[in-house]
């Protein structure tokens, strides 16, 4: 039963993820296109409101970058995270029929959902980056491999949070309502629409503790300024791994009882 469950169940994870991907857009006409439409609409709104109305600018160290590109680089990772957490949270309750009748490691349902969210939005992210590059934005395509590398611990982080929320959600239906509000707050507490340097000194230290802030800033650096890894990345990765393992521990503690509550 123990050993390497992930290795033993790799085909199940593959099948679940494939299913998740192919069915996200089943029944819609334009299918995959929806992956872009929603974030692009969001980006357009932010770009208009903040660059045209609030006249927000880009710090001087980002050369050859418009506000739109500045936001886009941080917005897609945020969407990966928030969507991954929200869908991952619903993965257990949403597969109640399966869990009640089939013995399977239920954490795979959360993994596959989060992975599918990341994969879909990653594809959108790459396309948007290439499009921005084509329009003359100073995006360092050499930073793309580093960005992908940074997204791995970021994925672990989202999965860890998703596991905790999915487990709690099974017992308490209130969780999903709270999570929506918290995610909205975290969005504005993360340097996405603004750079961390714009945050008043008194708040900056606190904000920097937000793991999402770290990844948001680092992804911008790698893609817009200097394509290279930093020492802090290893620390962040270790932190994300810890969050993931803690989430998995809690999930496994509660998962034997899911069947009783679904």
């Amino acid at each position: 039963m123990n050993g390497l469950p992930l290795l033993r169940h790799r085909w199940l994870l593959y099948e679940l993820t494939r299913r998740e991907l192919s069915n996200r857009y089943a029944g819609s006409v334009s299918g995959f296109a929806w992956t872009f439409v929603q974030p692009i609409a969001q980006l357009a709104i932010f770009a208009f409101v903040f660059s045209q109305i609030f006249r927000a600018g880009v710090p001087a160290n980002y050369t050859g970058i418009t506000y739109t590109a500045f936001v886009a680089v941080a917005l897609w990772p945020w969407i990966m995270f928030s969507e991954g957490v929200q869908r991952g949270m619903a993965a257990i309750a949403g597969n109640a029929g399966l869990i009640r009748k089939v013995a399977l490691p239920t954490q795979l349902l959360v993994y596959s959902t989060v992975i599918a969210c990341y994969a879909i939005n990653l594809a959108g992210f790459v396309v948007v980056l290439l499009a921005l590059y084509a329009t003359g934005e100073n995006i360092h395509l050499a930073g793309l491999p580093f960005a992908l590398l940074l997204l791995v611990p970021y994925l672990l982080f989202a999965t860890g949070i998703g596991l905790v929320l999915a487990a709690l959600q099974t017992f308490l239906k209130d969780v999903e309502h709270g999570v929506g509000i918290v995610l909205n707050m975290v969005f504005y507490a993360t340097p996405i629409l603004y750079p961390l340097t714009f945050v008043p000194e008194a708040w900056r230290r606190g904000l920097a503790l937000n793991p999402l802030a770290y990844f948001s800033e680092r992804l911008r650096e790698v893609l817009l300024v200097h394509p290279a890894l930093a020492a802090g990345d290893a620390v962040a990765a270790a932190g994300c791994l810890a969050v993931f393992l803690a989430g998995l521990w809690m999930f496994k503690r509660l998962s034997p009882y899911f069947e009783d509550f679904l």
Partner: protein
Amino acid sequence: MSQPLVSLAGITKDYPKVATGGERLRTLFSLMLRSAELPHFRALENIDLEVHRGESVALVGENGAGKSTLLKIIAGVARPTAGTVAVRGRVSALLELGSGFHPDYTGRENIYLSSAVMGLSHRETRSKVASIIEFADIGAHIDEPIKHYSSGMGVRLGFAVATSLAPDLLITDEVLAVGDESFQKKCIQWLERYLDGGGTLLLCSHSMFHVQTLCSKALWIHHGRARLFGESFDVTREYLTYHEEKRREERRAESIPAPASGGNMPRIVSTWIERADGERAETFAQGDELVLHGIAYEPDDRSPVLLFGVVRADGTAVYGSPSNERGFIPTPIGERRFSFAIRFAAIALLPGKYTMRVHALDPEGLRLFDTVETEFVVTGQTRDFGLVRLEHQWIAGRPGAP
């Protein structure tokens, strides 16, 4: 002695009571802190069971007795509150209807998913898909979402998938009850082949016929406890007897008022079935003596003609005969009433459910006035088929016609 494929020891399962938010919150904290006391109800209590390779075991019991919960625990879907479960080998489980398919995905996608649960790769599954679809035999529906399937179609697909993997242990929960006649036959043939080939089966069924034909052993679960474990024929007999007694008590509780005597047509006032020793009974072993007793009413106080017939549960007539054929005259017992009895020295009927019909005719035996039915069950351990056992012998043959 080989190691058992399944061994359960002291299995107890409590389900938490989670009707209110407060109870849910309390339960969540207790689970996190591993403390014991929770509001719960007990679904299973102290069940022991061993199933060895090649055995076929049935779980019988009333609705809500805990059969499905026990199967879930063996299949690994539910975790027991106390006790140990050890299951070896590859297990295929068909729990309840629909058997764990995702309603939004097509039948084909669900085949891949179910196979992946068993550890098969996409490519390995691809080689099996054709035979699974052929066995399920649901035509073009295979590419439609499962939610549009009838329950029978869902079970067909579920059975086809579960059996395609040649499991060491097959667990099925009341699935045979859903498919149509021809699919049931196909399933039973498959199961018989599977058992002949050394497969192990754990079945839960309300059909004592299926239990007797497929399983060598049976466990009767009553209100969450093991009530009887043994040869399937013994257990099913006890179980059926229990039900008959329960039904009789219910009937007694209803206390049907005895029909008033009177009227101007011949009637059957009452009938009942007895064993050779005079005990009333509804279940008989094949070859037992069965005596049908009855009281008839005739308005002119002349002996009526009676007619009995034996009908199988599905309505097939087996045998019938009128009383005047043998010159029998019912015995007058006063008040225009007549008693009669029909003795069957050794019932040759094959195991199953039958109805004994008794009709009252006028004294001339020309017009039929009344019909009274009494049900009875014949049990037995036999591979014969048909309606009745015809007395026969297998004897040495000759090389050719004389």
